[in-house]
């Protein structure tokens, strides 16, 4: 039996465009041609919506999302020479403890989440507090596709094409006051649709809370995502609205947001409250600072096959050092992990 273990300096097989993506260039072309052809048939033409990515399952797309999709800035940010994780893996290997502790639980259980209608409460140090319907909240904004690395604190990683809006633009809309120094986010609490919140053994104190320093939230890389792989977010990935901060561990990218508060004090976040020695407020991806229980120096880039394990070196700030390092000048990242 041959077990291939690449040296860290080697090019990984995953750096190569996957065969399925390579082959699907024709289906993308073909599908768009088919779209033209079908366009000639007045009724059938409406059903032909070619996906930009291979093997993407269609969901029930909300009307406001369809309206925005046409004007999307595709590939506004991309990763260089890194393969995008297959849709199936990105949607069936998730941590979303509201739907259960196992990686497959969110995909199996999140169907019960009702994402329409959805509203977001904005409060705290803002000029325009209130409860906003999601479609109104994002109405003035243009969708952008951001292809980001996602590094989980558990030492696995993916590359995901998100669709969303710069968080800074969303926050500017609600006019933070001069007292606002942090942003606090809260996930939906609904034990009826979220079986993990019904578990008597869960260590998490619901609802899930995350936070960012205001200048972190204003960094152009930080987004509020509403879609991925050219479609709306699947429920298990945090529908209908989630944060994506690619230079931080995945748990900072809070899902299914119902409340955004601008606050003066650093908010107490869920994992920090649960195990302060393991999870800090900043949670920046940092290969030099280990999680007490495991090393953060390397990561398994998924999919990582049994006979070709795809283990690679973790990059400082997950490879976004140029964009974000200045946020932390003068801060001891060992203490502020």
């Amino acid at each position: 039996m041959l077990i291939k273990l690449p040296k860290s300096s080697d090019c990984n097989e995953s750096d190569v465009t996957p065969e399925s993506v390579y082959f699907s260039r024709r289906s993308v072309l073909g599908a768009s041609l088919a779209g033209f052809a079908l366009g000639a048939l007045p009724v059938l033409g409406q059903a032909a919506e070619p996906s930009r990515y291979a093997d993407v399952e269609a969901g029930s797309t909300p009307g406001w999302f369809k309206d925005k999709l046409g004007a999307t800035r595709w590939q506004a940010v991309t990763v260089k020479d890194e393969a995008i994780t297959p849709f199936k893996d990105a949607t069936h290997y998730n941590n979303f403890y509201e739907f259960g502790p196992d990686k497959g639980d969110p995909a199996a259980n999140a169907g019960s989440l009702k994402t329409e209608p959805w509203s977001v409460v904005v409060d705290g140090e803002v000029g325009k507090p209130g409860r906003y319907a999601l479609e109104d909240f994002v109405k003035p904004l243009q969708l952008e596709e951001r292809i980001y690395r996602l590094r989980c604190v558990e030492a696995w990683s993916m590359v995901i094409p998100w669709l969303g809006f710069p968080l800074s633009e969303v926050l500017k809309q609600v006019e933070p006051t001069s007292k606002a120094r942090y942003v606090r986010f809260e996930t939906l609490q609904d034990p009826k649709s979220m079986p993990g919140q019904r578990s008597g053994f869960a260590l998490i104190d619901w609802p899930y809370v995350e936070g960012l320093r205001l200048d972190e939230a204003m960094n152009p890389l930080a987004i509020l995502a509403v879609g991925m792989y050219g479609r709306e977010l699947p429920n298990q990935n945090g529908a209908p609205l989630r944060v994506v901060v690619p230079w931080k561990y995945g748990f900072k990218s809070i899902k299914s947001i119902v409340r955004i508060s601008l606050v003066a004090e650093q908010p107490q976040t869920t994992w920090q409250g649960l195990a302060p020695s393991e999870y800090g407020f900043y949670a920046n991806v940092n290969p030099q600072v280990d999680h007490p229980r495991w090393s953060q120096a390397r990561e398994r880039r998924l999919p990582s096959g049994l006979f070709s394990p795809n283990v690679r070196t973790t990059q400082m700030f997950n490879g976004y050092e140029d964009e974000v390092a200045s946020l932390y000048s003068g801060l001891d990242l060992r203490k502020n992990y």
Partner: protein
């Protein structure tokens, strides 16, 4: 050899699980991170074999059937075999055969240290599981093999320290383990009734 079919059935079950998991991994049925899943399943499989092994004496007591005790050694050896596979899979799929990193993990991570201690205990029991050792060690053999309860405790602690957010699964295994341990406390053990069987 007594109860040959029962023994053979246990042997086949012990072989089938890893073979099935390997097949699933090869067929891409385990998702994007099959190595991690194999490590987890092998560890959990070893814990299950350990609990089943410890369940044999109480089962014999409750039912009076001698087959349970006959199967005990083989079940214990399956626990050991799964732990060897568990550690091999950890070395290959999680550490990528980086032996230097293994040294770091062994020094820095309490859950790894506890796991290795449990493995060393199992190794001692596996090495002395033959008739020759039983004869040579005599009364000390029984004492040595009480180590199995320490190993169970270490294994459960190793498992507890990996839990991130939900204790339910761990609590089930720990509950079964605690029950089996409590049953063997002499005053409790004396009161365990014979449910089926001739001698009352």
């Amino acid at each position: 050899m007594r109860y040959p079919w029962f023994r053979l059935a246990i042997f086949i079950i012990g072989c089938l699980f890893p073979a099935w998991w390997l097949y699933e991994a090869a067929m891409n049925l385990l998702g994007p991170d099959p190595g991690k899943i194999l490590v987890d399943r092998l560890g959990l499989g070893a814990l299950v074999f350990l609990l089943v092994t410890l369940g044999m004496s109480p089962l014999q007591r409750l039912t009076g059937w001698g087959g349970w005790i006959v199967a005990r050694r083989q079940l214990g050896l399956w626990c050991f075999a799964y732990i060897v596979l568990h550690m091999t899979a950890y070395m290959v799929f999680i550490l990528g055969l980086d032996w230097g990193q293994l040294g770091v993990e062994l020094r820095k991570r309490p859950y790894i240290i506890v796991g290795v201690l449990a493995f060393l205990g199992l190794l001692a029991l596996a090495v002395t599981s033959n008739r020759y050792s039983q004869r040579r060690l005599g009364a000390r053999w029984k004492k040595l093999h009480k180590l199995v309860y320490v190993i169970l405790g270490l294994g459960l602690l190793h498992f507890l320290w990996i839990v991130r957010s939900d204790l339910q699964e761990w609590a089930i295994y720990a509950g079964v383990g605690a029950l089996l341990m409590v049953m063997r406390v002499p005053p409790v053990w004396r009161r365990v009734p014979r449910l089926i069987g001739r001698r009352a």
